[in-house]
Symmetry: D2
Amino acid sequence: MRYDFGSDNTAGMAPAALQALVEANAGYARAYGADDATARAAELIRQRLDADAEVRFVFSGTAANAVGLSMLAWPHEAVLAHHAAHVCTDETGAPGFFGHGVGLIGLPGFSGKIDRTALEAALGEPEVGHRQPPAALSLTQSTEYGAVYTEEELRHLIEPVKLRGYGVHMDGARLANAAAAGFDLKDIARLGVDVLVFGGAKAGALCAEAIVMFDRSLARRIDNRLKQAGQTASKARFLAAPFVGLLESGAWETGAAHANLMAQRLAEGVAVGTPFILAHPVEANAVFVRMPAEAHGRLNEMGWACYRFDDGSVRFVCSWATDAAAVDALLADMAQLSA
Amino acid sequence: MRYDFGSDNTAGMAPAALQALVEANAGYARAYGADDATARAAELIRQRLDADAEVRFVFSGTAANAVGLSMLAWPHEAVLAHHAAHVCTDETGAPGFFGHGVGLIGLPGFSGKIDRTALEAALGEPEVGHRQPPAALSLTQSTEYGAVYTEEELRHLIEPVKLRGYGVHMDGARLANAAAAGFDLKDIARLGVDVLVFGGAKAGALCAEAIVMFDRSLARRIDNRLKQAGQTASKARFLAAPFVGLLESGAWETGAAHANLMAQRLAEGVAVGTPFILAHPVEANAVFVRMPAEAHGRLNEMGWACYRFDDGSVRFVCSWATDAAAVDALLADMAQLSA
Amino acid sequence: MRYDFGSDNTAGMAPAALQALVEANAGYARAYGADDATARAAELIRQRLDADAEVRFVFSGTAANAVGLSMLAWPHEAVLAHHAAHVCTDETGAPGFFGHGVGLIGLPGFSGKIDRTALEAALGEPEVGHRQPPAALSLTQSTEYGAVYTEEELRHLIEPVKLRGYGVHMDGARLANAAAAGFDLKDIARLGVDVLVFGGAKAGALCAEAIVMFDRSLARRIDNRLKQAGQTASKARFLAAPFVGLLESGAWETGAAHANLMAQRLAEGVAVGTPFILAHPVEANAVFVRMPAEAHGRLNEMGWACYRFDDGSVRFVCSWATDAAAVDALLADMAQLSA
Amino acid sequence: MRYDFGSDNTAGMAPAALQALVEANAGYARAYGADDATARAAELIRQRLDADAEVRFVFSGTAANAVGLSMLAWPHEAVLAHHAAHVCTDETGAPGFFGHGVGLIGLPGFSGKIDRTALEAALGEPEVGHRQPPAALSLTQSTEYGAVYTEEELRHLIEPVKLRGYGVHMDGARLANAAAAGFDLKDIARLGVDVLVFGGAKAGALCAEAIVMFDRSLARRIDNRLKQAGQTASKARFLAAPFVGLLESGAWETGAAHANLMAQRLAEGVAVGTPFILAHPVEANAVFVRMPAEAHGRLNEMGWACYRFDDGSVRFVCSWATDAAAVDALLADMAQLSA
């Protein structure tokens, strides 16, 4: 493999994260989240979000999302989400496993953003006993297709949901990329999101995501909930310290900004210098390119990791670790292929 | 806190583990367990066990045990375990959560070892539709009370279980300590254990345990199972590399041997130089001391972390990181207390 | 079998129930509970309880209890119940299945009544993340051992539970027998029970129990909940009509009064005319007799169905259908056995 | 309501079923399925199917289907079914609840029959860890849109599934109607179906369906499974006796034949004498008519119960109880409406 554009999780920890992890390793620390790094990381996240909230660190985005959704919907209810959202397509039914059968209602919309009219139609469906009615909305920021919701777009989606007393979950696996693209993190609490997954792994942390519960009533006995779900770290400092490193240094944001910049460089190169066209606007760190199977196969043979996605386009993801030379080399190779 | 005898999970990663983690951080690696470190760690574990097996790395012992048990018993069945086993008392009902209602049948026995007669009585219970009949046995090696099963003891427990076609799970959170105490790891497969949790965190790794499936039919679509359960690491190298470091260097065993030695030093010191008596034979890395609440409280005030256990005694756990000076200082403090 | 004292579910429907069922069979009726009989039965139950409540009819006591408990406790929490309660011993772990791993904490107490001190001790346990803390109390009226709680006893159990904001469930599989023994049904709502299972099958109905939700917030989307749990009757009139028949005719109470009377007759006969002693006070429709295995075996050989219970005594249950001649014949046979 | 074409579950029990129920009510019977009626009904079903099988009676089709599917697929796997199948659209996610997160993969096909090519494409999908791969196929006979699979059609669907070692479930809620339309019940076992739901309620029984397990290994501890799932009848004779009445008298078949005949009468009348057209071939007991919302509304106002379905057509269902005069009156009313 010459370079990996397959995902932003194929890069390692960013230097600030690794250094914090190594430092945190010294000596003894209280287990199960009662350590200093955990408290510090939670505080830094609250500061970023400018909101009071319970914060816990778990091992995977799949678990973070599924646990979060299980707080918002009963098993006989459903969660509204974009049909291409990670919770719908990439988590092996984890919401149903952690939520004991909870349903998912897939909604359409361009570039992974939920279409407002479709949401309202779904909310307006008459309830019947033999279907799972919606109890929550799940949003992804930035989206699965590399788009970034504006504050206004989010407001239009969240308002009718909150009006009905339903909950709102935000999958922020790539929240840093949204922030780097101009999304104001303080809007999350202001808009009424109840549970946020504040992404770590893709932003350069260890395998760790933070569950942020703005609605503290949802956090009732959260430590028991996480322990039962196998999501309590005995050596919790190892999940939290990389967050501390990234957030104190600002690398959580600057790494994402770099990733976004590399995506822009790639997108511009594709548009200008290759026979291919972009499938989605490039607002965060992912670039989706329409290319025939043969061209995709050739790229893979050349050693470029990249995958075909549900919409038929090929995805290239940049991370804090992507360098400009790799982008340029990829572009040079793409320029020689046929559309 | 002067020194932490509260658990063996309050120490950090052992040097060999940390070094391997740092080295593994360089460059790109395939996600979700398709990386080299994961393959290498699995191979090293199979070598230790002298057996063919599917090996996967997960984030916590709670998840490892619960996922393992869910392979062996249906929700309408039960798992036989020592009533003081971790799965019964310390995992917030995780076996029932991952096993969707699976039952636990607690069995008695000295020092955490299941009593053979009690097991046979439980196996001999007539089955009725309104109870959950046993489908599997869960063993802990070394036990929750710091004892180590002999091969013969295990054989007498496993044989009648296998004869009925039931499964056998072994919780090896402290398997390294059992091995260091003379238990031959090759006996595990030979005796017919179906699923082993090969402990990492307490042996000096990151938050990671290996699920070892000797019966490969249990591993059907194991990657889907773990992904759904939120136990698939995107950056899987970080779980595996510390195992590689510990197993290649031999620190997995030598760290445990050191922990056991410190426990011996502590036990001998208690017996000889304090007014307290030992509650259990000290065969691995834990020392249980009978002491009144006042003495225990005084120790805590002096800065020694240690907890009262279900049997009423106070537990002191040693790890790879415990040093002799700390043991001696603790003993000196204990010598001044009243029984 | 000469006569069945094995359970009160071996008798058929009482005449008033059967007649109502046959009458309800005529013509068409709306499905899934939108029929007249369902509305009427619910209203009759609310009248008996002198309280507003949502009422639904389900197929089995196991489901009724388990669904009810799943409204009161999260999977990472537990339900406090007498260790001999039906939910603990006779439902194959249904609370954990419907409650996705919810725990049960068994409490002691004479004759199936929860001991107040033991309850308070359990409530006073410090909470830790690795155990399932209590979120609800389950009471059985009349109890598994044929006793009937007084209003005062219930109050002393319910008050400290409600004070902590926990929920209260009452298993009323034999509520009619408690009522016939003098328990005032209006106390149930007054005392703060949140969810009641109002028993039908053992009182002479079809296989049907009513779930009564005094706290209507628990009934959110209850029809979806029951449908998902396989507890929605398409031909719902068949569950409800027997209730209507029993409640309009008064046979729900008079049948239970008869059953209690037969139990008294049996108990007095045992005390006076046999070599055996009663194991529990006889306050409802069950008689527990201490007798050696040989005597029990002889009774079974003679054709009397009766079972040995968890406390070692042999249980004889009377129903609306038990006749005095059968009781007397049983007593005559028992008189000839040796203690 | 003048007459109910809304569903075949709005009719009561057929006379033969009711009579058998009334007769079974006399005297005492062993509880939980150990009674004579249960044994007799199971034997009659085995005879109809010409196959050895474990047979159990449960309360609802939702439960029967969901329990059956839970035997065939793990939570991290999925079941292939027609996207309009009852398990997908009308059971409030029960398969996921009883199957603890098990997935459903909806397949297309005319009139509720699964398209063979679509099935093969789904089976041929490469497996990935982050999706739920198929482990079983669910078929509905007759289908949700009133069609009846031929033996050959079923064979082409079942063969590739069995070849991969996957399981096959058949939802036979309207199996009697398929049989009356010429489908040979003996083909079910011959073709390799593993679990069949043998319909009762819609065929004139009480709320009861039979789970038929041809693969007896799936029936391991089935009584525990059903008890835990709240699907064990204490007074089991009441579920079984109506089956005995229907099957001994032949009314199970003749009632369905009558229902099919009424559906034919209705279909022919619609085609010839109304301005509307049929949406699906009428092979069993349901008639789907394309009609504008206004016409549908007018019919409902006239007192005819009938519902709009997922494909946009309006469904009319006939049962053992539908009489020709009602069909003719409905047709007369439809004739006056505008298309």
